[in-house]
C-alpha cells in the first residue's frame, strides 16, 4: 500500500511517495527556505528605509512581506503542506490564526473606536472642572 493515510507529526518532512517525487532533497528544502527568508528580510529592511516608495503604502508592504516570510517559514522549516497526512496540523494552525486575527483586529478596532469616541477636548475638560 503506497497510499498510507497516517497523520504526520508537525515539523516532519513528508514521507509519502508523492511528496518524495515532487520535492527537493531535505537539505535543499531548508536551503531554499533560508534563501527565500533572507531575501524577504532584506527586502523588508530596504522597503522600510527607501524613499522611492509612497510612504503611506510602506506599512502595508511590510505586513505583506512579513506574511510572505511567515509562509516561507511554515512551508520550508516547519514542513506544513496541504497533504492529507497534514490535515490535523493545518487545522490547528488555522484555528490559531483565527484566534490571533480576532485578538489583533478586534482589539485594534475597539481601541480605535474608543479613542475617537471618548477623547475629551480641552474645552470639554474645562467645563467638567468648573462643575
Amino acid at each position: 500500500m503506497t497510499d498510507t493515510s497516517y497523520d504526520r507529526a508537525p515539523g516532519e518532512i513528508s514521507t509519502t511517495a508523492e511528496a518524495q517525487r515532487l520535492t527537493l532533497s531535505d537539505f535543499g528544502i531548508y536551503t531554499v527556505g533560508f534563501v527565500l527568508a533572507v531575501m524577504l528580510t532584506a527586502i523588508s529592511f530596504w522597503v522600510a528605509n527607501t524613499t522611492l516608495l509612497w510612504p503611506p503604502g510602506v506599512a502595508m508592504g511590510l505586513v505583506v512581506l512579513a506574511i510572505a516570510q511567515m509562509g516561507v517559514h511554515l512551508v520550508f522549516f516547519l514542513h506544513i503542506t496541504t497533504g492529507s497526512d497534514n490535515t490535523n496540523n493545518v487545522l490547528a494552525l488555522a484555528f490559531g490564526v483565527l484566534v490571533v486575527l480576532l485578538v489583533v483586529v478586534g482589539s485594534l478596532w475597539i481601541m480605535r473606536d474608543l479613542n475617537s469616541n471618548m477623547t475629551i477636548t480641552p474645552e470639554q475638560m474645562n467645563l467638567r472642572m468648573q462643575r
Binding site: M1, D3, T4, S5, Y6, D7, R8, A9, P10, G11, E12, I13, T15, Q20, D26, F27, Y30, T31, G33, F34, A37, V38, T41, S44, F45, V47, A48, N49, P55, V58, A59, L62, V63, L65, A66, Q69, M70, H73, L74, F77, L78, N88, N89, A92, L93, F95, G96, V99, V100, V103, V104, S107, L108, M111
Partner: protein, 210 residues
C-alpha cells in the same frame, strides 16, 4: 526522510485505511500536542503584540521608537536568528540520519547564534534603561519591554533546552524519547523565528518611520 521515522513507519506500511490504523504513534501525538502549545503561545504573543500596537503612541512625553531603535543592531539580530533557524533545521536532518558529530556541531552553531541574539538584545535594553527609557518611563516602553522581553525569555528557554538536549544525546543516545524532544525543540525554535519576523517588522521597521 528520517531513519527513525522510516523504521517506525515500516511496521505500519501494510495497513490501509485510517479508520483501521489504530491510535497514532507517540511521536505524532507528542509533536501535535506541542504544536497546539506553540499555537497557544503565539496567541499569547498576539495579545502582547496588540497591547503594544495600542500603546505605541502613548509615550508620555518620553522618547519614541524612532529615537531609540538601532536598525543595524536589529538587522544583525534578525540575521542571527534566521541563520540559527536554518542550522536548527539542518540539525534535525543530522539527528534523523544519526550523524552525531554534525548534530553537536550544528547545535553549537545554533546555540552561539541564539546567544549572540540575546547579547544584542540585552545590550539594547541596557542602553535604553541607561538613558532613562526603561519600562517605567511610559506605557509605550512598558509594552515594548514586555513584548520584546517575552520573546527574549523564550529564546533563553530555548538555549537552555538545547543545551539539555545535547547532554541527553551524549548520555542517552538517539533513543525515541530523545528524538521526540529534539523534534519539539526544532518546532519551538522555528516558531520563535516566526514571532521575531512580526516583531522586527511591526516594532522596529514600522517604529523607525517618522
Amino acid at each position: 526522510m528520517s531513519v527513525a521515522v522510516a523504521a517506525y513507519d515500516a511496521k505500519r506500511e501494510t495497513f490501509a485505511p485510517a479508520s483501521e490504523a489504530g491510535p497514532a504513534s507517540k511521536r505524532i501525538v507528542v509533536a501535535f500536542g506541542f504544536w497546539v502549545f506553540l499555537l497557544s503561545d503565539i496567541v499569547m504573543f498576539s495579545a502582547l503584540f496588540v497591547a503594544y500596537a495600542v500603546l505605541v503612541r502613548a509615550t508620555a512625553g518620553g522618547p519614541a521608537g524612532a529615537e531609540l531603535f538601532n536598525q543595524v543592531s536589529v538587522a544583525v539580530q534578525t540575521g542571527c536568528l534566521l541563520v540559527s533557524s536554518y542550522t536548527c533545521g539542518l540539525m534535525s536532518l543530522a539527528v534523523s540520519q544519526r550523524r552525531r558529530t554534525d548534530t553537536y556541531l550544528l547545535a553549537l552553531v545554533t546555540f552561539v547564534l541564539g546567544a549572540a541574539f540575546l547579547y544584542l538584545e540585552v545590550h539594547e535594553f541596557a542602553g535604553m534603561i541607561a538613558r532613562g527609557a526603561g519600562p517605567q518611563r511610559s506605557a509605550f516602553l512598558s509594552a515594548f519591554f514586555t513584548l520584546v522581553g517575552c520573546h527574549g525569555l523564550h529564546v533563553t528557554a530555548g538555549l537552555i533546552w538545547l543545551a539539555v538536549m545535547m547532554a541527553q544525546v551524549e548520555f542517552k543516545g538517539f533513543r525515541p524519547s530523545v528524538d521526540r524532544r529534539l523534534l519539539c525543540f526544532a518546532l519551538f525554535w522555528h516558531a520563535l523565528d516566526i514571532v521575531w519576523v512580526w516583531l522586527f517588522t511591526a516594532i522596529y521597521l514600522m517604529g523607525v518611520r517618522p
